[in-house]
Structures are given as structure tokens and as C-alpha cells.
């Protein structure tokens, strides 16, 4: 069964703040939910399905349904890190296509900045079987991605300056976003001179740590037709889990190798059709590897692809993360993900900032990366359109 054209994103909302003191996580979930429902022209009483991931407190959707006051016939707590919310869009589209629900609400919220949690995952590790074999070696989140970058450099000759180009493009977009956590432009030199965190990744290769959140409302075609707001159809979805596969670690490929083609096939499109891409950017290397794996360029040629303004809106080869992305704008709950879909919706609605709006943006792609790059991860790809 294909979900192509069977569900629409009718509401999208990103919390405007990047530091939110004196609020609870559930309160921020409620604020972004209200924002997305208002954007769609719907209310809490219209919601019959709710989706959240590990950032939601307690029993996840069970706890949140009660807190929000929702009456639900369908829920989903699927937790795949930063890719969760893109996978939730796929799951919502599937549930809507199956007739299980009509109005699905997806929320993300977190307060890592105010709580002092700093950079890192919001993952539930606890008693996971890999913990005694991986967590006691001082492996920071950054170091895991740094090892992927090091291996990419070794196999393909990728350079730190090429990775820096990704941050430069994101920063050039963020200067137009009044809500972005970092709004200053940067040069390749400035990235290379920023503090080394985990060699070869510098401070400016890393995403920001922000409070905040976002929400999406996914609806059936019947509901979408009744709304005055421009609803964005889901055209293609793909997901894959990639793990260490009994020690056969391959650090230079991600699950996007599988999720991308699945999404393109469902949408009946190819990478050349995509005018705008939201690419999960926890670190610069995340973007580089993902672009290759999604087929926007040949494997190993990502460095060339991103150089010379390749990712800069509106006229680069592939304008990306026009909100400034996780590298500059927002990475709420240390995962973002939902913000990738939100900016893609803005582009398709022609509501991105005029300086970065891609002209005639007919098709957009959003990609989420969750967990640890290439070793224990969930990859989720969505292809969205202006119309079916």
C-alpha cells in the first residue's frame, strides 16, 4: 500500500523561543500543539491520533493524552531519536490511509538549555545490551560523529574545509531568521579556527543546544479539503534501521541508502526533482553523508557538492535548511527532526523568508537522522509536494 497523496500536513508550528525558563516540558508540548492546530484551523477536540517520542514525559502518548485532554483512538510512541517525528508523519499517513484516524497531532519539546543538560542525546539507554561495550570509553555524541567524519576523510579525501561549507550555508540562511539561536554569518576560516571538540569536528561543526519544540498536524484528504489553509501532501516515505550488524561497522553510509530510494519510489520522483531539502544536521558530517546516501551526488563526492555555495538558497544546486537548521537555528530537545518538516512545509507554502524562499518549490524532501551516525540509527525520509 502506498500512502502517496493519502495524507496532508495541514498545520506546522515551531516554538519561537530558544531559551524557555520556568516552564515544564509538557507545557511546551501543549504550546506547540496549540500552535500547529491553530495553523491548520483545527482545535484540540478535532484530534483523534497523537504521536510523540522519547522527549515526552512519563508513558509518552498515554501521559500526554491525559495532560492535553485529547480523546484518542490511535497513538504512537515510536522512538528513533531525531528521526522519530518524520517517521511519525509516515505512521500518521499509514494510519489515516487505513482509516484509523483523521487528524493526527505530532509534538516535540525539550528544555536542554534551561536544564543545563548540554549537548547530547535524549536517548533511553539504561539497560540496553550494547551499553557495557560502548558507553564506558568516554564516547561523547560528538566523538561518534567525529569517527564517521574521520573515516569519510580517509576513504574519500573529504576535508574539514568542505564540512565547514555546510555550516557557512546554514549560517547564511539563519541571518534571515529572527528566531534563530545563531544569526551571524560565518566563514570557512572561522569554522576551522573554532575550538576542536572531538577531532576532526570543531565547535562550529556542531548543532546548537536549544530549548523549544515543534508540532505538526497530519490530516486525511477529506479534512484537508474543508480547511482554508494550504495543506501539503505526503508523496513519499521511507525508513530504515541501521546498526553495527554484528561488528561489521560501516561508518561512511547511513540508513538513508535504504530510506531515500523507498521514499523516491513511493513519490514517483528522483533526486533531480527536489527543489529544496531539509537535511538533519546534528553535525556537518551528518549532512554530507546523508546527501550522498540520498543520491543527490555520487558517494564520496559530497565535499565537492557542498562547496562553493552548493547548498545556499535560493539558487544553489540544492538549497537546504533555509531556517538555519540545527547548526544555527534550533535543535530542540537535542534532536530537532520536526523542525526539518516544518521548514519544508514553509518552502512548499511559499512562506519561507523571501531571501531564502526557493522559487517555484514544487517538491521538497525532509530527512531525519536519529541515534548515532551509521552505527545505531534510524533514517527517515519524507517527500512532500505543493499538491498531489
Amino acid at each position: 500500500m502506498s500512502v502517496r497523496g493519502k495524507a496532508f500536513i495541514a498545520g506546522a508550528y515551531e516554538h519561537p523561543l530558544r531559551t524557555i525558563p520556568n516552564k515544564t516540558v509538557q507545557q511546551v508540548h501543549a504550546e506547540v500543539a496549540a500552535g500547529a492546530l491553530a495553523d491548520a484551523g483545527l482545535s484540540f477536540s478535532d484530534v483523534d491520533a497523537y504521536f510523540c517520542a522519547g522527549d515526552a514525559p512519563g508513558f509518552g502518548a498515554l501521559s500526554m493524552a491525559e495532560y492535553l485532554g485529547l480523546q484518542l483512538t490511535h497513538i504512537d510512541n515510536t522512538e528513533t531519536g531525531g528521526s522519530s517525528y518524520l517517521l511519525h508523519v509516515q505512521h500518521a499517513a499509514e494510519a489515516i490511509a487505513a482509516g484509523h484516524c483523521h487528524v493526527a497531532l505530532i509534538t516535540l519539546a525539550g528544555l536542554p538549555r534551561s536544564s543545563g543538560a548540554g549537548i547530547g542525546g535524549a536517548g533511553r539507554f539504561g539497560s540496553a545490551p550494547e551499553v557495557p561495550f560502548e558507553n564506558f570509553f568516554g564516547l561523547s555524541i560528538v566523538a561518534g560523529y567525529a569517527m564517521a567524519a574521520r573515516r569519510h576523510m580517509y576513504e574519500f579525501g573529504t576535508t574539514s574545509a568542505q564540512l565547514a561549507e555546510i555550516k557557512v550555508a546554514a549560517a547564511s540562511h539563519a541571518q534571515h531568521n529572527p528566531n534563530a539561536f545563531l544569526q551571524n554569518t560565518v566563514t570557512v576560516e572561522e569554522v576551522l579556527q573554532s575550538k576542536m571538540v572531538a577531532d576532526p569536528l570543531h565547535m562550529l561543526d556542531c548543532c546548537v543546544v536549544t530549548d523549544g519544540g515543534g508540532a505538526l498536524v497530519v490530516v486525511s484528504p477529506e479534512v484537508a479539503r474543508k480547511l482554508s489553509r494550504h495543506s501539503v501532501p505526503v508523496l513519499g516515505t521511507g525508513f530504515a534501521v541501521k546498526h553495527v550488524n554484528n561488528g561489521r561497522i560501516d561508518l561512511t553510509h547511513t540508513g538513508a541508502v535504504v530510506s531515500g530510494p523507498r521514499a523516491f519510489t513511493e513519490a514517483g520522483l528522483s533526486p533531480g526533482d527536489i527543489r529544496y531539502a531539509s537535511i538533519y544536521d546534528s553535525f556537518t558530517i551528518t549532512v554530507l553523508t546523508t546527501l550522498e546516501d540520498l543520491g543527490f551526488c555520487e558517494k564520496g563526492k559530497g565535499g565537492e557538492f557542498v562547496s562553493g555555495g552548493g547548498l545556499q538558497a535560493p539558487f544553489g544546486k540544492l538549497p537546504f535548511n533555509t531556517d538555519g537548521g540545527g547548526l544555527c537555528n534550533n535543535h530542540p530537545s537535542n534532536r530537532g527532526g520536526i523542525t526539518k518538516v516544518i521548514e519544508a512545509v514553509r518552502q512548499l507554502r511559499n512562506e519561507a523568508h523571501p531571501a531564502v524562499q526557493v522559487p517555484n518549490c514544487q517538491f521538497a524532501l525532509a530527512h531525519g537522522t536519529g541515534g548515532n551516525l551509521a552505527t545505531r540509527m534510524g533514517s527517515a525520509t519524507l517527500i512532500l509536494g505543493q499538491e498531489v
Binding site: 561495550f133 560528538v142 553495527v244 561489521r248
Partner: protein, 137 residues
């Protein structure tokens, strides 16, 4: 021993022989008697062919560096340990496993560097499997 933190590792019936062997300066991993895969990390079944007929086998403790990072400053108990080297090493027997490279100047570490096991044991009996350069061992 190195000067990096050791850990209180939680063992269970699936992993106890691995940890017990480290105390005897031996690297033991399960090998599948059905498909001959070496199983990493240790568990009670083979994730390649799903057989539960595994036998513990001594590994060479030798390998090469697959990738690495020099961490400037760690988190938590690792805050004062930097710069230190986190690495995936490829064991001669196949699996690529996470570890630290110790007793080597971080700037001298490189991909493909031959390494050998260090059974890093504290006075309190805690032990972790780390690796060092073959030339410095």
C-alpha cells in the same frame, strides 16, 4: 594500566564469561558453531544465523584502527581525561569494536595503525578492554 576511568560494568549470564576472561588477560568472544561468525557484542544467540549454539573462543587481541577521534574534553567522569582517543578497531577475527587507544601520543594515532589488547585493570578489580599501538606494547 592507563589513566582513563574504569567502570562498574553490569554483567549478566550472557556476558559474564567475557568479563571474567578479561580479568585473566584474555579476550574471549562467542563463535557460532553453525555459521562460524564471531559474535560482537557477546550474547546468547548468533545475530547472523540465529543459532543459540555458541562456543567461547580466545581471540588474538590484535587488530587495526578503523577510525578514531581525539576528544578534547570529555563529559562527566571523563571531564579531566582529555585529550583522549576513542576508536573503532577491527579485530583480526573480524568485528569492529569500540575502545580507547592508550599509552600512545594522540597525535600519532592513525587509521590502519596495528594495535594490541590492553587489559586495563584497576586496584579495585574493575577492568576494561583497551588497545595500544603494537610498537609501544
Amino acid at each position: 594500566m592507563s589513566f582513563l576511568p574504569l567502570a562498574d560494568v553490569e554483567m549478566n549470564n550472557e556476558t559474564q564469561p567475557f568479563w571474567d576472561a578479561l580479568h585473566n588477560n584474555t579476550l574471549l568472544l562467542p563463535r557460532c558453531t553453525s555459521c562460524a561468525s564471531v559474535v560482537w557484542y557477546p550474547r546468547a544467540h548468533c545475530p547472523v544465523c540465529f543459532s543459540t549454539e555458541l562456543e567461547w573462543e580466545e581471540m588474538s587481541g590484535r587488530g587495526t584502527i578503523y577510525s578514531y577521534s581525539i576528544v578534547a574534553k570529555g563529559n562527566g567522569r571523563w571531564k579531566e581525561s582529555g585529550p583522549y582517543v576513542v576508536a573503532y578497531i577491527e579485530l583480526s577475527e573480524g568485528p569492529r569494536i569500540l575502545t580507547n587507544i592508550v599509552n600512545v601520543t594522540p597525535s600519532e594515532v592513525h587509521i590502519n595503525m596495528p594495535v594490541t589488547a590492553v587489559f586495563d585493570t584497576g586496584d579495585d578489580g574493575r577492568v576494561l578492554l583497551r588497545f595500544t599501538s603494537v610498537s609501544t606494547s
